[in-house]
Structure formats: C-alpha cells, structure tokens
Amino acid sequence: MNPKREIRVQTIVVSLLVSIMTILLLGILLSFQPLSGSLGSELLAINQTTTQSANAVTSVVTYFRGLDTLGEVTILFLSIFGIGLGIERLQEKENIFSYDNALLKIGADMLFPLIILFGLYIIIHGHLSPGGGFQGGVVIASGFLLMFLAKNNEFKLNHKMTTLVEALSGAGFVLVGILGLLLVDRFFGNFLPLGTLGKLWSGGVIPLIYIFVGLKVSAEISTLVEYFIRIKDVR
C-alpha cells in the first residue's frame, strides 16, 4: 500500500469522526433548554444589597467568584514564570529595535504619563464603570511597551522592583481573601463598610482586590513584553 492512499483513508476517517461529533454537538445544542430565571438575574438581584457596586460584572468577578479570579491570576503568573525560565538564559541585554528617532522619543515621553494615568483610572473606577484590574493592568503594560519600542536601550525595567510589586500584590490579594475568611463567613467575604452606590468609596472590598490585581497584572505583562523584546536568537 503506498503512503498516499493511507493518508486518504486517514483523512476520510477523521472527517467522518468530525462530522459525527458535529451532529452530536448540534443535537445537544438544539435540545438544550435555558434555565428559567437564570443565574444572571439572580446575581443582579442580590448585587444591590450585598456589594453596592455599580458595575455588576466586577462584583461577580471579585466578590461572588473571587476564588476563580485567584485561579486566573495564578495561571497568568505561572505562564509568565515559565516563559521567564525558558528565556532568561538566552537573554542578551539589548533591544532588537535599532531605531533612533528623536520625535518618537519626545512623543513617547509625553504619552507615557497619560497612558499610566488612564490605566490607574480604569483600575480605581473598576466598580463604577467598565473596566477593572485586568484591563487597567494591561493598559499600564501597554504604556511600558510603548517606552520599550521608542527608547531602545535607555529604558529598562528594574527587575527587583517588578518582582517585589508582583509578589507583594499577590500576597495582598490572598491576604484580603483570608481576612474575609477570618472576619466574615467566607473566603473573599466583605469586611469593609459598603458605602453608597455610585460613589468612589463604595463596593466594600472590591476596589482593594482590583488594585492588587491591577498591580500584579501590569508587572507581569510588562515583564513578559520586556522578555520578548530584549532576547536574541531564539532556538
């Protein structure tokens, strides 16, 4: 039997399997009936009394599902730790962008504080308007990315500083959860005064959690971007 023919048989078998799976999946999807009075409306109903947060998404992410957020942050930390382990040995302290432009440097200097301010605004107002820790952290990291791209070797991250910020904010995040467990009934329970809906001082423990998440995410993503920009000769 020549190899071409084997490949054809394999292709037919694989496509048959894929079509059977698709038909099964379509059957499951078509026979699926949504629960009456779904979880979302229930959460929205109790959101007003329990958290006083204007943005219901953030109260789901940090308050009702705080443990899942801890898992997400851990996954992000582990992936960046793995990339760092693989890349650190090959690291050569030089930017790959050999691009010298005075206009770009001045413009980056003017834009960098604006981007950092916008990221901090998104983090702090996470319980009032769309946004939160993850989004604001990534915005701050994109500001650092602009500086890496614009100033090729004059701008370097202080790695001790980023490690310290990341470790302290992760520890603070877990500490808030444990304080909730000790002072109130459950992990990530609310032990702060709730405040009034729509004010900056409201939402109880949610802004605190989001500040920690934002610091952690910004430190991690900036470190990742610096790894990618400064290495040479990936094998």
């Binding site: 790959i96 989004q135 990291a141 994109s142 993503i221």
Partner: protein
C-alpha cells in the same frame, strides 16, 4: 440599524479570518489579525459588553500584535532593522 452594522462587521470579520489564514506573508497575517481584534472590539461594544471590548482592544490589538510581530522579527533573517 444596529443589526445592519452588526451584520456588516460579522461579514468583515469572516473575510478577515479567511485572509489571515490564506495569506502567504506572515507579517500581513499579523496586521490583519490586529484588524480582526479591532473589529471584534467594536462588536463587543455593540453587544453592550464594554469590559470585554476594553480587554480585546488592548490585548488583541496592542500587546499580542506587537508580541507576534517581535517574534516574527526574531525568527526571520531579513528584518533585523525595522
């Protein structure tokens, strides 16, 4: 009216996805991928999910696009100086 805009963006996203997969030049693929992220961010805003739209706009357009371009520069011989 909103439905018409959403349908146009859906058609544009499908076309962009076909172009991304079937392109020979990887740099063009990355740039089209950034355009795909921008279109889906607009779609998320129209579906009233601004949280997801913010994340998609920063991650999908900015950071991951630049990381993919940098990786492309690292593995290609010709593009050492941009």
């Amino acid at each position: 009216m909103i439905g018409l805009i959403v349908l146009c963006i859906f058609a544009m996203l499908i076309l962009l996805a076909i172009f991304i997969v079937s392109n020979n030049d990887l740099a063009h693929s990355v740039i089209l991928f950034m355009g795909f992220g921008l279109g889906s961010a607009v779609l998320f805003v129209l579906f009233s999910a601004p949280d997801v739209a913010l994340t998609e706009a920063v991650i999908g357009v900015g950071t991951s696009g630049v990381v993919l371009l940098v990786t492309l520069l690292q593995i290609s011989k010709k593009g050492r100086n941009v």
